[in-house]
Structure formats: structure tokens, C-alpha cells
Symmetry: C2
Subunit: 351 residues, 2 copies
């Protein structure tokens, strides 16, 4: 299917996209963009318009400065989310069963009806929250969405977070669960799904599985991944102060990633997977939005995978800031995004 | 492959993405984004960095105001491009043969080696330039790139433009050539490719073929299409003054589209194809960049096609403004983009 000529050209392209940054000597002139007033687009559903119209996240530029401060923030967000998570669970008609697997806290999410072709398949979901936020039930919305919309059984991993445990605890916990799952289920029937830090973690799991000579999963869904925590990526600048969720690299998410890293090199591919060797990765679907601070770090992963010849599908949503594609099941574009992810998993996981 | 549950959800999603704009009553608060200094990203090749570093297009906000002014602009751009086009032709080792087909001026572009699987296939290329620019050899770069990189024989259509001929002359000429081509070649072996106005025209050709009960082509490559000439699409605002090619909806391209339309409704799907019924379209690849003023109008087409169940692939390039993916064959990301397009065509056109 891929011809000699085409393949040769693709191989050339790989060289420049291997995650290397290129020095600028001398530095090139930046673009001066004037202040702008940007209307809420009328090209998205009324439900999504309300989300886009929300002001910049409160206190985006005053992240906690102490471990206790981070823990308090995580707890307050969790407590605020809890009733919404339960309401979403009820609407989506999924059951949620807390438990442990390989010593790691998990939730098993089961849809009203597991699709027949998914009976022997399972998804492992790794939540987002900049490696520091969304413990316990706050981890669940994405797992519930893909369970209900895709008709999958999902294991949601409630991994350890700072200040209890720093890098690589989150990845270690995710890998412990993965190893347990693939001991019982053909890895080709196992899909990984995550958003933001979770979107990075599912890529890091692929890299770690390669290091450990473990079989890779059958497919990966990486949503707006924190694929580069070194403040590198064009939309960190172009979408700054426009994305109403992450707002800016000077905001809480980069501070949280540094808190998780605890001095570890942020360019380690197990924190910034864009710098890892993704050859051999399974089919991977990537999701982002046009206002997403991590749009660049989503498309960089997409290009990297494609240049390795990997089946990778990109979906980008009009007007959405970071991770808004998973915001609420009542938003049509959220159902649309998870329908794509479910379809992708369905096409690529072994029957 | 697509299950009942997933399909039901996808069908719901279709309703809101059918190209309808949603009123805001009352209007929602816009986002006030401060002035920003945006560095040239180091996440792209040095060659592309030079393109990104270029200042905003000269005279972007003083489009011609008379038919003669447009013609002079088109001629001056053509004359300036001519030596570069010839140099690119020599580097890419393609031959270019001018001719006519069904009374329309064309060029036949032939690569050094037509790939064996492409022997009975042909691509029809429709150039960009806001419906008004890039006559004669200025139409050729995209045709030469896909010919050389994909190993295809390409018919480049040098359609009539204002002030000689207004809407729908460009589309009529493109359709005349298409009809002639499919009289000799199985339509499933024919691919359409175009960028910007050409990206819109290849979609308009699909819509027009449906109206005329003509068979559709086997695949379409629509690059950063002018899919909505009504100044609708979020990145018209978010990427304004950042995209150094189109710069702003207040710039020359929207003025040129209005000049082409000559009073015709800009919401006509044959000018703004996002408003057309794309059901039954063949596999379609879409290309854009993170700084592209038409990123929204690219992803809106992608979502529209996907919600109709059509095999559609999106590629978005880091840091690129409008149509820079076809700027110069010596830019690695340009070879990468056309390699993707060639691979996509190769996968979907009938052997």
C-alpha cells in the first residue's frame, strides 16, 4: 500500500520530527500580536458556547506553593466535582465499583450494556489533572463517558499523587494495573485512554512497556496530552490567555507538573513523552481543540506517530479549550468526541 | 464495525454539526486577549522557522478595489512566482505540458516515474488564490509536489477568474475538466486535490457532481479550505494577526472571494461548501496548521464528514499559517504533508 517513493520521502521526514528542538542562531524575530476581542463562536452547539464563554479559570496564575496547598486544592476540586460526577453517572447509566488491583486503587466502570464485540475487551483509563489533581471519584468522568458511549468495561486508575508520592509513582501505579489486566486479557484486546496528564501517562505507559519488554496494548486514546512539560510547543504562546482552562504556561498546570517531577528532568520521556521513541506503538487517536493550550503538543505527537508509520487519527474541535471535549455528557460535541474514540477502539482492538 | 450504540450516538451528533450556525440570545461575553509577543517555535525545522518568522504579508489590509487592480495584483504575483515555479519543477524533476481539456486551460504534470499502482490513476488539481490569484504557471506548485512525491500524473486546472469570469466560472471549468477525465478514467481512480480556494473548489466539485448525478471521485485532498466565506469560524478571530499569510478576515482573501461572488450569496454551498450536503463523499484528507486563519474551517469540514460516517483524515502542522504546508519542496514538513496526501490517495483510489 505504501510505495517505495512515498516511503522514502516519509523516512526523510522522520529525521526532523524525532522530538528534537532546533536552535535558532541568531534568534528569529517574534510576532507581535495586538490585543483582541474574540467572540464566542456560533459554529458550536449552544451547550458548548456556554463553556467557551466562561471566563479564565479562577486563580489560574496563583498555584499553590506548598505540598499542603496542592493537597487542599485537589481535595476542594474533588469535593466540588463529586455531586456532578454522581449526576453524570446516573445520566449515563453506568455502574461504578471501587476496588484495588495489584495494590492500586481503581474503579470498575460498567455500562448498561457491554457491546457484544467488547465482551472480551477492556479499557484502562488514566485520569488527568496535571499529575496532582482529580483523585478518587473526580477521576471518573472520562471513564464513564467512554464506558457509556463506547459500550466498554473500563478500569479507572486512581493512582497515587503528590504529596503522598512523586514521579514515577503515577506511572508505576498505572503500569501495575496494566500488568494485572494483560495477565488476564489479551493485550490486543486492551485499550488505554487518558486526557491531559492522563493523555501523557498513556503514552508514557507505551514507552515504559517497551522498556520492560511487555506487550503493548491494542490501541491508545490520548486526549490533549501533556506530551511536553518543558514549556515547548507553539500554542503555549498562541493560545495563551485564550484557553480558559489552562490559560498559560505560567499557570497551575506547569507548576503542578514540576511539583510531581520533584526535581526530576522534565525532558525525561516518562514525563514528556514527545521525547520518547514511539516506534511500534499501536493505533492511537488524539483529540484537541482549536483554543487548546496543548494543541501543538497534540499535533506534535500525531506527526511523530505518523512519521513512524503508525495508524494515528487526529480530531480537533472548533473553539474548545483544553480537555473541554470531556466536560459534560450533555454537550453534543462531547458525545461526538467519545463516539469517535469508541469507534476507533472498536476498529483497532482485537475482537 | 460500527455498533448500534455508537451509531446512535453519532447520529445525534450529526444534528448539531450540519453546518447550521446557532444564534446567541443574549450574546455571550467575548474573551479579551491581551497583546502578546509570540516567538518562532523551535519545534519545527529550521527551513520552516524561516517561513514562520516572515512578517505579515505586505499590504494585507489594502486589497485592490477595482477589477483592474485585482488583475494587476494577480499578474504581478504570477510574474514574481514564475522563476520559483520553474526552479521547483527542475528540483522535483517533473515535466509540465500546457494544453486544453474540454476547452479549459490545463497543465499535465508528469513525475519522473509514475508509480506502478498509479498507472491508471490521475489527480485533478485545482489551485488556490482566493478565486482570483495564481493564474497560469502560478497554479502549479501543489500539482508538482503531489506529482513528484506521490508519483502521480496530475491535471492542473488553470480555470477562468475575475475580472474575465465570475462565479461559478471557476467551478464550471473544474467540472468540465472532471467530466472529461471521468469519461476516460474510472472515477474511482480519479482524485481531486486543492488548497485554500482550491480546497473549497474540490469540495464544491463533490457537491456539484451530486447535483448533476455524476459519479464522485475516489478520494479528495482538501487543504485548508475556504469552506466558509461568510467570515464564520473561530480561528478567523483567534489566529488573526498571527497567520502571516491571510492575516485577517479584513484582508485581501475575503475581499477577493466577494469579488469572485459578484453579489451572489456567499452562503451558497458552491461558494461556502461547509453549508452543503456532503453525504456520500469519498474519503477525504484535510490539512491545516496551528496558526492557520482557516484552521476552524478545516476542522469544521473534518467533523462534518466524520459525522456523516465518511473516512476522513485530518493533519495539522505545528506553527504553520495558511497553506504553508505547500510553500516549498525544500521544507521537510512540506514533503511530509504531501507524503501523507500521497499515501492517503494511494490507500483509497481504486488500483
Amino acid at each position: 500500500m505504501i510505495s517505495g517513493v512515498i516511503f522514502r520521502v516519509a523516512a526523510v521526514a522522520v529525521l526532523h520530527s524525532a522530538g528534537v528542538a532546533f536552535a535558532q542562531t541568531p534568534p528569529l524575530a517574534p510576532r507581535e500580536v495586538p490585543a483582541k476581542t474574540i467572540p464566542v463562536p456560533n459554529t458550536v452547539s449552544p451547550e458548548l458556547q456556554q463553556i467557551i464563554a466562561q471566563p479564565l479559570r479562577t486563580a489560574w496564575n496563583t498555584p499553590p506553593t506548598t505540598p499542603e496547598g496542592w493537597k487542599e486544592l485537589a481535595e476542594s476540586i474533588r469535593a466540588a466535582a463529586a455531586p456532578n460526577v454522581e449526576a453524570m453517572r446516573a445520566r449515563l447509566k453506568v455502574t461504578v465499583e471501587p476496588g484495588t488491583m495489584a495494590g492500586v486503587k481503581i474503579y470498575t466502570v460498567t455500562p448498561e450494556r457491554v457491546l457484544p464485540e467488547n465482551r472480551d475487551r477492556v479499557l484502562v483509563q488514566i485520569h488527568g489533572g496535571c499529575y496532582v489533581l482529580n483523585p478518587a471519584e473526580a477521576a471518573l468522568p472520562e471513564a464513564m463517558l467512554i464506558s457509556a458511549i463506547g459500550g466498554y468495561r473500563v478500569i479507572a486508575v486512581d493512582y497515587r499523587m503528590p504529596p503522598e508520592a512523586y514521579f514515577p509513582a503515577a506511572l508505576d501505579d498505572a503500569m501495575s494495573v496494566y500488568k494485572d489486566v494483560i495477565a488476564k486479557t489479551d493485550p490486543k484486546r486492551v485499550g488505554l485512554i487518558g486526557t491531559s496528564a492522563g493523555g501523557a501517562l498513556v503514552l508514557e505507559m507505551g514507552l515504559r512497556a517497551k522498556q520492560l519488554n511487555l506487550p503493548l496494548p491494542g490501541a491508545i486514546a490520548s486526549g490533549t496530552p501533556m506530551s511536553d512539560s518543558t514549556k515547548t510547543g507553539d500554542t503555549f504562546y498562541t493560545n495563551a490567555m485564550l484557553d480558559n482552562v489552562l490559560v498559560s504556561t505560567e499557570g497551575f498546570c506547569d507548576a503542578a507538573a514540576a511539583f510531581y517531577a520533584k526535581g526530576h528532568d522534565l525532558k525525561d520521556p516518562l514525563i514528556s513523552p514527545i521525547y520518547g521513541d514511539m516506534s511500534g506503538f499501536p493505533p492511537t487517536i488524539l483529540t484537541s481543540g482549536t483554543r487548546d493550550l496543548l494543541l501543538s503538543n497534540t499535533v506534535r505527537v500525531h506527526r511523530k506517530l505518523r512519521n513512524l508509520g503508525i495508524d494515528s487519527f487526529l480530531q480537533v474541535y472548533e473553539g474548545q479549550s483544553h480537555a473541554q471535549y470531556g466536560r459534560d455528557d450533555r454537550i453534543p460535541e462531547v458525545r461526538e468526541a467519545f463516539s469517535e474514540i469508541g469507534t476507533f477502539m472498536n476498529s483497532h482492538l482485537k475482537k
